[in-house]
């Protein structure tokens, strides 16, 4: 087994590897990158998936606005450069979590294909799972969990993705989940089935 070989080699350097940690945790360290409009269900999917994985003894960590925008990325605004740097840092931190053997889930709109592809390029083949939470704009706007669409329509905020800023759909995401057609349970089951099929979880 390639995995065990790597373990033996590095063991003598006194350093624990990703493969070692994966063996201990009985899971593969991967990035599950949720992308989609505000109100598409990214955070709900990530948090519910985390809960299901936890019940099965797996360890994940959700990176989202709550723990990133107020901490690591608090010195970034919403200019194009800052948005790019925001996603770049999230990609790099996700990679560290995956290297630690943890499921790193990210729940950000991440509207630009190029930025998501930069994050993907940090990981090995199969370690970056892009989940497109697809939903018609009118459904997202009706949900409006953060009241952003209302504010954008009233002209109180600018450059909201879907209203006056573009969302670039993924061309080849690992998974597409239309949360206006599937309920939460079904949606999460699609991801769990994928993780099992790819032997990322037991």
């Amino acid at each position: 087994m390639a995995e065990q070989k790597a373990t033996n080699i590095t063991w003598h350097n006194g350093a624990i590897t990703k493969a070692d940690r994966e063996r201990l945790l009985k899971q593969k360290g991967v990035v599950i990158w949720f992308t989609g409009l505000s109100g598409s269900g990214k955070s709900t999917l990530a948090n519910t998936l985390e809960e299901k994985l936890f019940e099965a003894g797996h360890i994940s960590y959700v990176l989202d606005g709550d723990n990133i925008r107020h901490g690591l990325n608090k010195n970034l605004g919403f200019s194009p450069q800052d948005r790019e740097e925001n996603i770049r840092r999230i990609g790099e931190v996700s990679k560290l979590f995956a290297d630690a053997g943890i499921f790193a889930m990210t729940a950000f709109i991440s509207p630009y294909r190029a930025d998501r592809d930069i994050a993907r390029a940090l990981l090995k083949e199969g370690e970056f799972i892009e989940v497109y939470a697809k939903v018609p704009l009118d459904v997202a706007e009706q949900r409006d969990p953060k009241g952003l669409y209302k504010k954008a329509r009233a002209g109180e905020i600018k450059e909201l993705t879907g209203i006056d800023a573009p969302y670039e759909e993924p061309l080849n995401p690992e998974l597409v989940i239309d949360t206006s057609e599937k309920n939460l349970e079904e949606s999460v089951q699609i991801i769990l089935s994928y993780l099992k099929e790819k032997e990322i979880i037991r």
Copy 2:
């Protein structure tokens, strides 16, 4: 138990908490912040501690130059502002790892007291363990694992901590380990004993 109470409250919000992850991993998520001169033994201590913890079934992650300077912080140089931002980001990422229930170990010179105290302030009481790898400059210079002292003495690099840039000793670190007096085994044992005493590991 306060821990379990928090778990129950948040469970129904569909979010897994730090306490949940700590329960699953059977350890506390803390930051072990190694500081000291180049050649003081920070990385060796961190990697050996990680190995010992791994043998006991614990999961840690070492943040060091290899995985930070070439990734998350690759857009930072060595100006005073960039050095400060470097340590700030490392502090924020450590906090995320601790929140994930992992032992986050950092192995950077981190010469400024103010920067280390900013990292400390991100964590709760008892979650930030500052380990000062103390060693006389002449011993560090003799070890010179990265050849930095030689280059500094030859005038090839500037502002090396200990030579022409200051190192501010911690005033109240949780642990001080003089790696010129204690061998690696003894040094790591001091940290392990501390973690057991504080019930961070079993």
